[in-house]
């Protein structure tokens, strides 16, 4: 550093300027996350203080106007909807990318990819509206009432499918050609190459895709609000209506005051905790090699 500064003053200051502006930008990005967490905690504190965290999991029901704050059914609702949709969307998305890369003729692969990109760009409220007027009445024919966990899982699945499909597509594209040629030269059939060579090589990208789609599944609000029925209960079948934590906030925030409002911030905190747990476990599963 001293030699640099003694050589040319101008180069030193440019480097220094870049360094400090990058530090500043990084600090802002980090500070935003910390600010949100601090804000959530500050807003939730009043109710945590005189109700206590435990009661959010042990109260008989969620009736904030009557002072009952059980979040567990909504926690289950969020987790069930998320798990169901991720379990269906992941194989579909990965296989769609495999089709696009290794089975589809180029004439078909390009428009197909554009189509998936278009799917990713549709606003969530449009999915929700479609779900409300098409999907929910269909489910109601099979098993009333219609708005249900199943409707939520299906809508979420359609919404997160492009995320995993595009991420898988991008990570398959980064698999070095010589791996595939080498495997083909050994006489392996196409599916064996994909399973034994491509998937392990693209693992980190696929995992990132799963994490991104899970994050989107947890955070989705509008579409879920419209098709899930929003009844606060732990579902006993996929045809039971549920309410997710995000829907809870969106549904009640406009009309909430005092403890009720603070209790909704506790919902936000719980959501944040799930996301953090997800990120930590993903980091742990990939042992830090996720971005490698």
């Amino acid at each position: 550093m001293t030699s640099l500064s003694s050589n040319t003053l101008s180069r030193w200051s440019t480097d220094e300027l870049l360094c400090w502006s990058l530090r500043g930008i990084a600090t802002i990005a980090g500070a935003i996350v910390m600010l949100i967490v601090v804000f959530l905690i500050v807003e939730a504190l009043p109710v945590l203080h005189h109700v206590g965290l435990l009661r959010f999991f042990t109260d008989p029901s969620w009736h904030p106007a009557e002072g009952l704050y059980n979040l567990t059914p909504m926690l289950w609702g969020t987790l069930f909807a998320m798990t169901g949709s991720v379990l269906i969307a992941t194989p579909l998305g990965v296989l769609s990318a495999v089709f696009c890369h290794y089975y589809a003729p180029p004439v078909l692969a390009r428009p197909y990819r554009r189509l998936i990109e278009l799917l990713a760009g549709i606003p969530s409220v449009v999915y929700g509206f479609w779900g409300l007027v098409v999907l929910v009445p269909l489910i109601a024919e099979v098993q009333p009432p219609g708005p249900s966990l199943l409707a939520g899982i299906l809508i979420l699945m359609i919404m997160i499918l492009p995320t995993i499909a595009l991420m898988a597509d991008a990570s398959l594209a980064t698999v070095p050609q010589q791996y595939i040629r080498g495997a083909a030269a050994l006489g392996l059939p196409r599916w064996a190459i994909i399973r034994g060579v491509v998937f392990p090589a693209a693992r980190s990208g696929l995992l990132t895709g799963v994490i991104l789609e899970t994050g989107r599944a947890i955070g989705e609000t509008m579409a879920i609000l419209m098709v899930c029925g929003n009844v606060v209960q732990t579902p006993s079948s996929v045809f039971d209506p549920i309410r997710t934590l995000t829907a809870n906030i969106a549904l009640e925030m406009a009309y909430a005051l005092g403890d009720h409002r603070a209790a909704l911030f506790v919902s936000g905190l719980v959501l944040m905790t799930i996301i953090v747990a997800l990120a930590v476990s993903a980091e742990w599963i990939s042992r830090g090699r996720m971005y490698g």
């Binding site: 029901s61 009736h63 904030p64 106007a65 009557e66 009952l68 409300l132 007027v133 929910v136 009445p137 109601a140 009333p144 009432p145 219609g146 708005p147 609000l225 419209m226 029925g229 929003n230 009844v231 606060v232 209506p241 309410r243 969106a250 549904l251 009640e252 406009a254 009309y255 909430a256 005051l257 009720h260």
Partner: protein, 288 residues
């Protein structure tokens, strides 16, 4: 005189906040536009409260602005409870409350603007023509779960309820003397339109929404029907003459006896000049 001082102080704190924001944005010239509080019919009115009333008051506000070019009317929603809280704390000049004023709100000054009815809706193809109050209570508390028990075809009833905090829910629960935790619902919805879409999409659903909204959607061909309550047909007509039992007054409220700009706005909102806006919004003007 005391009132105008009060008003002036509010405006000062308002413009201070605006000044801070403007200073942050770096365009201090526009501040001058905000600080003309001396002329009674110029300045800014902040109105918050019931989402039922907000579109109506916003329309009235627009027309009021066109008569008084120096006045700005800012309408925000957040429910009747927010309207009460904001007016009490002085965050809003006028609050909107879509229900009867509660006893603990007697300190506020309330001015009725219009009436609204809460009607029970079914899908058009549902053969049930009327329900007694007892039947509605039994359906909403889960004691009756099949339409054949109330004269319909054999099918499970889908009960549509409103989310906690909505004033329609309060009006409904109050009339049927129910507690929200006793309601066994299959669907919980936010606003009126979502309720109508849910019932229109489910032949076995029962729900309740503002009569104005339901009557309009029914006339537009949405497959729903309004049930009569206690032998009185649900329509804007029966709400107007106060014969329909589940109806509510729509109030605008102030913390102190209104004066100056606030008084002018309230008198305008209660005048015949806005009856056409009230009808446009499917509410019922008060008989005067």
């Amino acid at each position: 005189m005391h009132r105008s001082i009060d008003l002036f102080q509010q405006n000062i704190s308002g413009s201070l906040a605006a000044l801070c924001i403007v200073a942050l944005l770096g365009t201090p010239e526009s501040v001058t536009a905000q600080t003309t509080a001396t002329d009674p019919l110029s300045g800014k009115l902040v109105i918050t409260g019931a989402s039922t009333l907000a579109p109506l008051v916003a329309e009235i506000g627009k027309r009021f602005e066109s008569h008084h070019p120096k006045v700005r009317v800012d309408v925000q929603t957040g429910g009747s409870s927010r309207g009460v809280a904001d007016t009490r704390q002085g965050l809003a000049d006028i609050g909107m409350v879509s229900r009867v004023m509660k006893d603990e709100e007697k300190d506020l000054y309330a001015f009725p603007v219009a009436r609204d009815g809460v009607g029970i809706i079914l899908h058009k193809e549902n053969p049930v023509q009327a329900l007694t109050d007892e039947q509605v209570v039994a359906v909403y508390t889960g004691k009756i779960t099949d339409w054949k028990d109330v004269g319909g075809k054999h099918a499970p009833i889908t009960v549509v309820n409103k989310a906690e905090g909505r004033s329609t829910l309060e009006v409904f629960l109050h009339y049927f003397k129910l507690k929200n935790r006793d309601v066994k619902a299959q669907v919980i919805i936010g606003d009126n339109e979502q309720g109508i879409k849910t019932v229109a999409g489910n032949r076995h659903a029962i729900g309740y929404v503002s009569i104005g909204t339901a009557e309009y959607d029914e006339s537009q061909g949405v497959p729903i029907k309004l049930l009569s309550v206690g032998g009185v047909a649900a329509s804007t007509e029966t709400v107007r003459n106060d014969t329909f039992p589940i109806s509510r007054p729509l109030h605008i409220i102030t913390r102190t006896p209104p004066g100056g700009l606030i008084k002018a706005f309230i008198e305008y909102a209660q005048s015949k000049a806005v009856h056409d806006i009230i009808k446009q919004q499917y509410f019922v003007p008060l008989v005067d």
